[in-house]
């Protein structure tokens, strides 16, 4: 199997599993217990906290709180701050956030908050003047993702943080789920107040995430109960998963692999765009402003689901921005916000690479893809449009 769906989830790294293993077998204590087994667990959790803190460059490890997933972190950050500050009900976010933020803000809008939704241009980039103008005295929170999960487009959080800080009292929340482990992050030198991450995107297991809470910032608890996580998040710590997340962060610090992944992504992207006439890139062509592992490509006038099924049959896992649910066909809100025409949005495929992909796998993908697209082009009822595209390409 060739797994090119690493933005969806990643394989647990062997190093991560090895670190977790004792905590799934002999080390089964509760870190809240006073006995020595409990204290061993507690030490493991604190070590993991330091590993996470180091990867994302926080000033203090105590600013990291473990959660169950990225969505919990996002929900807690936004919901917890609003609860703490009941007089401030204005939120600024973008149209291209992950569902964890987008659907939460849509829900908050329904129950009385005011939400300003920032749009993006056709490259998927924000206009920072829009943000500047949207900021108000009563703006409670600005929530912007660092890397888009579908296109990999990066938002300039350093710049955004400065604008937020200089022009408002709002806190700045960043959904960093898709970026952590893929690009360097240095929170202590940024204006980020809250930062969500998820373990399974960087080779830790599913079921563990973290929220960075800048020292001094108070959030109402999201889960009420015991005094775990210094009283900030109740619930018995998921020690094996937390240890896994720590080990994954340690692993991700070694950036040697990142260049290799980027090289493979570039090869895949360049070759597809060069050889397949109805292929077009979604997201800025400026690779410095995109994640190094993601290529989101639309194959115009053909169906993404068809491509996905055929690639799957060839042993290649990808994902598509077009999801058919019997009666409604939802094309991705991100691609919609980017004004991608629906005949292209329907045929969008996200290739997301990871540390275990090899050049041979990319070559194999490049070998089977043109044939699959060719078959679907032959099947497409948009004959005239495709003929024009293919004729243009032939002339070049």
């Amino acid at each position: 199997m060739i797994y090119l769906d690493n933005n969806a989830t990643t394989r647990v790294a062997p190093e991560v599993f090895a670190a977790m293993r004792p905590f799934l077998t002999e080390a089964y204590g509760n870190p809240s217990s006073a006995h020595s087994l409990g204290q061993r667990m507690k030490a493991a959790v604190e070590r993991a906290r330091e590993q996470v803190a180091e990867l994302i460059g926080t000033a203090h490890a105590s600013e990291i709180v473990f959660t169950s997933c990225g969505s919990e972190s996002d929900n807690w950050a936004i919901g917890g701050f609003l609860e703490q500050n009941p007089t401030r009900r204005h939120i600024i976010t973008t149209r291209v956030e992950h569902e964890a933020v987008r659907n939460l803000c849509a829900h908050l809008e329904k129950i009385g908050c005011e939400v300003t939704w920032l749009g993006v241009n056709e490259n998927g980039e924000l206009n920072l003047d829009d943000l500047h103008q949207a900021l108000r005295r009563d703006t409670a929170i600005v929530s912007v993702m660092l890397a888009n999960n579908e296109t990999g487009v990066l938002f300039p959080i350093d710049e955004i943080g400065k604008i937020v800080r200089e022009n408002s009292d709002a806190v700045f929340h960043v959904d960093g789920v898709q970026a952590v482990g893929k690009i360097p992050i240095d929170l202590k030198n940024s204006e980020v107040d809250l930062f969500a991450l998820s373990g399974h995107k960087l080779h830790a297991p599913q079921g563990v995430g973290a929220l960075y809470i800048r020292e001094g910032l108070k959030l109402s608890p999201f889960i009420i109960g015991g005094g775990q996580e210094f009283g900030r998040r109740a619930g018995t710590s998921a020690v094996p998963n937390i240890v896994g997340l720590g080990a994954a962060c340690e692993l991700a610090k070694n950036v040697d692999g990142h260049d290799r992944i980027e090289h493979l992504r570039n090869k895949l992207e360049d070759e597809i765009l060069r050889t397949i006439p109805n292929a077009r890139l979604n997201g800025t062509p400026d690779r410095a402003r995109r994640l190094p592992n993601t290529a989101n490509i639309s194959f115009e006038y053909v169906e993404g689901e068809n491509i996905l099924v055929q690639l799957d049959e060839a042993g290649i896992c990808v994902s598509t921005g077009s999801a058919c649910h019997s009666t409604t066909h939802e094309s991705s809100p991100t691609l919609q916000a980017m004004n991608v025409p629906y005949t292209a949005a329907r045929g969008s495929i996200r290739f997301s690479l990871g540390r275990y992909n090899t050049e041979a796998e990319i070559d194999q993908t490049l070998k089977v893809l043109p044939e699959i697209i060719g078959k679907l082009v032959e099947m497409s009822p948009y004959d005239e449009e495709l003929k024009a595209l293919y004729a243009n390409r032939a002339q070049l």
């Binding site: 006038y301 689901e305 068809n306 099924v309 799957d312 019997s326 066909h329 099947m379 497409s380 009822p381």
Partner: protein, 190 residues
């Protein structure tokens, strides 16, 4: 969403009849506002009103693609009347595609509509070109205007459904529905 490996997926990997039927052919299109899928069916029909070639083109989900592949295969060597009856039997088509098509009635309907539209295009053309003494109304079942008028008069019919029951007119592709309606109004003095 991924369609689980099953009959529809199997049809998909073993597609039949992609393309354009030999000319002159008759074409039907369908499209869904809900999902944006577009389908096109083309038929080549011989002098005995038999479909000797059926092809399709489509941009849509796997279930729709599979439905078109199956449907175009099934209507080959059938008369337009037989094909129309088959296209309207959505439940049978769905069950032939396996469980993954069970809640995808809209996709199957889209396939059936494209096929019916192609048959209607043929029927309209055959009706226009008909040079018999008596105007042809239902091309699928070869029912003339005079027959329909007689049936309405003698049996006091007042609906399309009753005309269809009496003489089969309108039992196929239904392209003659407006014409039967007109005859009903004329004969019944409306």
């Amino acid at each position: 969403m991924r369609v689980d490996a099953g009959l529809a997926a199997e049809q998909f990997s073993n597609l039949k009849n992609v393309g354009e039927a030999a000319t002159p052919n008759f074409t039907g299109r369908s499209a869904s506002f809900a999902c944006g899928a577009v389908a096109r069916v083309s038929l080549h029909i011989d002098d005995a009103q038999r479909i000797d070639d059926a092809k399709f083109k489509v941009a849509g989900c796997t279930v729709l693609v599979a439905a078109l592949s199956v449907l175009t295969e099934q209507v080959k060597n059938k008369t337009t009347a037989e094909a129309a009856v088959l296209a309207e039997d959505l439940e049978t088509i769905e069950s032939g595609l396996g469980p993954e098509a069970a809640d995808r009635g809209d996709c199957v309907l889209l396939a059936s509509e494209a096929l019916l539209e192609a048959i209607r295009a043929y029927s309209d053309s055959a009706r226009d070109q008909w040079d018999g003494d008596d105007a042809l109304i239902c091309t699928c079942f070869g029912v003339s205007e005079r027959t329909i008028e007689n049936e309405i008069q003698t049996k006091h019919l007042n609906s399309i459904a009753s005309v269809t029951r009496a003489c089969n007119a309108g039992a196929g592709c239904r392209s003659c529905y407006p014409l039967i309606e007109e005859i009903l109004e004329e004969v019944n003095g409306k």
